[in-house]
């Protein structure tokens, strides 16, 4: 039984419970993953908001370990798909296999062999190495939460959470995800290289005895409750308008666009980007034990939400202007409050 099903359970109790669950989950993950608190936080945003997360980082930074640990803590079915160039869509989704079995059966029968996509926590490793056809099979499942095999639609079990990884080093022989499909990921989380202290701790943990594998912290129902509760978090029109202003300002053709955006951006974020900002903001608020979204929540989620949705122009790429720099300028230049209110707040 979840808090939502308890009779007379108030929203406050549920929010409090949700925060507690998330904190517990983070602590469990931290037993295995050293450092990377922000990465873990952002991945949990994706989980709570009901979206999917794209992890990008150099090899060996613990992306796969993070996903495995997370799935272990969530007591959810985990599956991993290692994308290679020869991976077929049916390798992802599964296929019907002809079984020639008992002498009593004539000609055999087809049996669905489900692919790895039928997990609940799916790790799509190096998604950019598979062909676009194979990528689309996964992306379709991410969007629809179902797969179609031989004309039969098979729903995927909720919660369905995809964590895809990308290796930014080896670009030869890869198939970068097109922008339209990148847009399906709620967040793009950059996994940074560990600091010296973190690396030292990693070495300590991983070169000694086998570490402890944490047990399940949250059940499936609790995860579902988190996702449902996330949708119930209140958001004001002012926050929604702020999210809209941010997304609009990322468009170089908009009047609100800054000179940097006009120079370095070819395409800005769209509607899905604004939706993702709000959902991620709700997840942030919920994980902090609040029932309403604030401007700071939206600002905090701006980078992971928008960085894979803003396409740089040639000039931006040539000048080495990173998307994160563009997003920094957006959050700095786009006011959260109207000017009149801001002046009064500042005491002017």
């Amino acid at each position: 039984m979840t808090a939502a099903t308890l009779p007379g359970t108030s929203f406050e109790l549920r929010v409090s419970q949700a925060k507690s669950d998330c904190d517990r989950l983070k602590r469990a993950v931290a037993q295995v993953i050293v450092g990377q608190e922000e990465v873990v936080e952002e991945v949990l945003w994706g989980l709570v908001a009901g979206g999917h997360v794209l992890l990008e980082g150099n090899p060996g930074l613990g992306k796969t370990l993070l996903v495995k640990t997370l799935s272990a803590c969530l007591d959810l079915a985990f599956s991993r798909i290692q994308f290679t160039p020869d991976l077929m869509p049916s390798d992802v989704t599964g296929t019907n296999v002809l079984l020639v079995g008992q002498e009593s059966e004539r000609g055999g029968r087809f049996e669905l062999h489900r692919g790895p996509i039928f997990g609940q926590v799916v790790l799509a490793d190096e998604i950019n190495r598979a062909t676009p056809k194979t990528q689309s099979a996964l992306l379709e499942a991410m969007q629809e939460h179902s797969v179609t095999i031989a004309g039969t639609r098979h729903a995927l079990e909720e919660p369905f959470f995809v964590l895809a990884t990308e290796n930014p080093i080896e670009m030869e022989g890869t198939y970068p995800l097109p922008e339209a499909q990148l847009d399906r990921f709620l967040l793009k989380v950059l996994v940074p290289a560990p600091s010296e202290d973190v690396l030292t701790e990693i070495l300590s943990r991983t070169t000694g005895k086998a570490g402890v594998t944490p047990g399940a912290v949250l059940q499936k129902e609790q995860v579902l409750e988190l996702r449902a509760l996330c949708r119930e978090v209140e958001v004001s029109g002012a926050v929604l308008r702020y999210a809209a202003r941010l997304v609009n300002a990322s468009n170089p053709d908009a009047a609100e666009a800054t000179p940097l955006v006009k120079r370095a951006v070819r395409f800005g974020a769209g509607v899905r980007g604004a939706q993702s900002l709000v959902l991620a903001g709700k997840a942030v608020a919920l994980m902090q034990g609040r029932g309403q979204v604030s401007f700071a929540d939206v600002t905090r989620t701006a980078k992971p939400v928008l960085r894979h949705r803003i396409l740089r122009s040639f000039e931006g790429e040539a000048d080495g202007i990173s998307v994160d720099a563009v997003i920094d300028e957006l959050t700095a230049s786009v006011p959260a409050r109207p000017d009149a209110v801001e002046r009064i707040v500042q005491g002017q």
Binding site: E234, S236, A238, V239, R290, Q292, A296, A340, G347
Partner: protein
């Protein structure tokens, strides 16, 4: 139910906080407006100081400040924050992560989380944290401007820069017709004592005409006044100087001779004052006396006076008296002829004519003479041709028989001429002319000339008045117009009145004199009425006033205070009675 209570509680709290925030913001706008108004009020006060406005500098500043405050209030009303904006402000101040604005916008919808959090945050103990800043740096302008305005209000009015005065009279005047010049131009019609004098008088007339023409074109005022003054001086120089050193002894002797007879006493007085015109008029009057002996006595007196003057070496006086004598004789003959005719026409005259004849006989004067002549004219018109001829015959017979008793040759000549005209057919016009000629006064040439010169001098004075200047009494001629010697006058000081006109006194006329501490001011003047322009009676008083103000105000200084027994401060002075009023008016504030 609980939700409704929560909602109500939140709305009440939010309303309270929002009201405080809005009031404070309104006050800030009003203060800012007042600062702007004060900022504009200081230059306004400065402008008023520059314009030398004594009283309203502070008022102007206050009004400007008030206007600014009102404008601020209006602006505050227009920029009133709505509930959402106020909620955002409260969220920022209370750091409630937009719970208040979420609660305000969602209202009674939603799950109530934000409403509860917001209500909890809007507790009274957190009111101070939600106050918008009231005073800003620019508000310091208000006391600063107020201090500046106070200083400006206390500034003394600035002094007017000294204006370089234009020389008096430098302005141009342009007049089509300056009254008075025509009298100077009339000098050319006068007979001069000598051809030289006639030439000079013609020249003066010409100068007057040139001056008129110059004024028509435009002339500097002082130039015009200078030329008029010179004309007047020249006119005065042409007057007979009977009282000068050469003629003084003769004048005294001639006057003494005339004074011997009561009949000519008045004539003696006129002659002693040098007024030849009045002397001539008196002699003309004596010429018309009814009694022959009176007429003779007057003629003899004049003859003796001329002789005495010549004996004393006063040649010009003697000549003048002799000319007066001839005029007297001529006037006598006219009067005799007129009288004789009146006697002849007595039957033909109407009652008014007879009355005019009686008046002429009793008090012969020019008016009676004129009326008599008119009556005779009417009588003559009524005569038939036959009656005229008869009258003419009677006149001729009378003349052949020796004429009217005591008639002078001139009278006889007049009567012969009358008889001749009476005989002519249709001689009405001629008779009229002759009668008018008989009635006309013929002043002596000297008197006529003196009168003309006097008229010219008065014309000059009038011209000076026309240019806005008080004319001096009489011109500054070489000769002094008449007047007895000091011994004859017997008055201290002598007739000096006309000599000082036009000159400046010995006082210092630069700047202003110091105030004199005195209880009263009294005046004393010895004045003598001189022929010429009358004394002006109007004057403006000047009184102390505040610096920078117009000085042409009625003052109430010491001149306004008079002693109990005095009227206009001149009661107890030696000012002659006839001048007290004028002198007193001079000292009126």
């Amino acid at each position: 139910m609980a939700g409704a209570a929560e909602s109500s509680d939140f709305k009440e709290r939010f309303g309270r906080f929002a009201g405080r925030v809005r009031r404070r913001l309104w006050l800030r706008y009003v203060l800012s407006g007042a600062c702007a108004g004060a900022g504009a009020g200081v230059p306004l006060a400065l402008v008023l100081w520059w314009l030398r406005e004594p009283e309203y500098r502070l008022h102007a500043f206050a009004l400007a400040t008030l206007a600014g405050a009102l404008a601020g209030a209006v602006l505050a009303a227009r920029r009133r924050l709505d509930d959402g904006a106020v909620a955002l402000f409260l969220d920022a101040r209370l750091k409630t992560a937009e719970a208040i604005v979420t609660a305000v916008e969602l209202g009674d919808t939603g799950n109530g989380w934000s409403r509860r959090v917001a209500a909890e945050a809007l507790s009274d103990d957190r009111e101070n944290a939600t106050r918008p800043r009231l005073f800003q740096r620019r508000h310091a302008l208000l006391p600063l401007c107020a201090a500046l305005a106070g200083w400006v209000a206390s500034l003394p009015l600035r002094e007017l820069p000294p204006v370089a005065a234009k020389p008096s009279g430098a302005e141009q005047v342009k007049l089509e017709n300056l009254a008075g010049l025509e009298q100077i131009e009339a000098l050319e019609r006068l007979h001069g004592l000598t051809p030289e004098q006639e030439r000079r008088m013609k020249h003066l007339a010409e100068q007057a005409r040139e001056l008129r023409e110059a004024l028509r074109r435009g002339l500097e005022k002082r130039e015009a006044l200078s030329r008029i003054a010179k004309l007047r001086d020249a006119i005065a120089a042409e007057k007979l100087t009977l009282g000068d050193q050469e003629n003084r002894a003769g004048l005294d002797a001639a006057v003494a001779e005339l004074e011997k007879r009561a009949l000519t006493a008045k004539a003696a007085k006129e002659l002693s004052e040098g007024d030849l015109t009045a002397f001539d008029e008196e002699m003309q009057r004596l010429a018309m006396l009814a009694e022959q002996k009176d007429r003779e006595a007057a003629r003899e007196a004049l003859k003796d006076a001329a002789r005495r003057a010549r004996e004393k070496g006063a040649r010009s006086l003697a000549d003048a008296l002799e000319r007066e004598q001839r005029a007297l004789e001529k006037a006598q003959s006219k009067a005799e002829a007129l009288r004789e005719l009146a006697r002849r026409l007595e039957g033909a005259m109407d009652e008014s004519g007879r009355e005019a004849a009686r008046d002429f006989a009793q008090s012969p004067n020019p008016e009676a003479q004129r009326k008599l002549a008119e009556a005779m004219e009417r009588a003559l018109k009524r005569l038939t041709e036959e009656e005229r001829k008869k009258l003419a015959e009677n006149l001729r017979k009378n003349l052949e028989g020796g004429g009217p008793g005591g008639a002078s040759p001139m009278t006889r000549e007049q009567l012969e001429d009358m008889a001749k005209r009476l005989e002519q057919k249709g001689a009405d016009k001629l008779l009229e002319e002759q009668l008018r000629e008989l009635a006309k006064r013929d002043p002596s040439e000297d008197a006529a000339r003196e009168r003309g010169l006097g008229e010219a001098d008065r014309g000059g004075a009038e011209a000076q008045r026309g240019l806005g200047v008080i004319p001096t009494p009489g011109g500054q001629g070489q000769g002094r117009p008449g007047g007895l010697s000091q011994e004859r006058q017997g008055a201290p000081g002598g007739p000096r009145g006309g000599d000082k006109s036009g000159g400046e006194g010995p006082g210092d006329h630069a700047g202003e004199t110091k105030r004199l501490d005195a209880e009263e001011l009294r005046s004393k003047a010895n004045v003598r009425m001189l022929p010429g322009a009358p004394m002006h009676a109007a004057s403006q008083g000047r009184a102390p006033a505040r610096a920078g103000e117009s000085a042409n105000q009625l003052g109430t200084g010491v001149l306004g205070d008079v002693g109990p027994g005095e009227v206009s401060a001149v009661e107890g002075t030696e000012v002659p009675e006839e001048y007290r009023e004028q002198v007193g008016r001079y000292f009126e504030p």
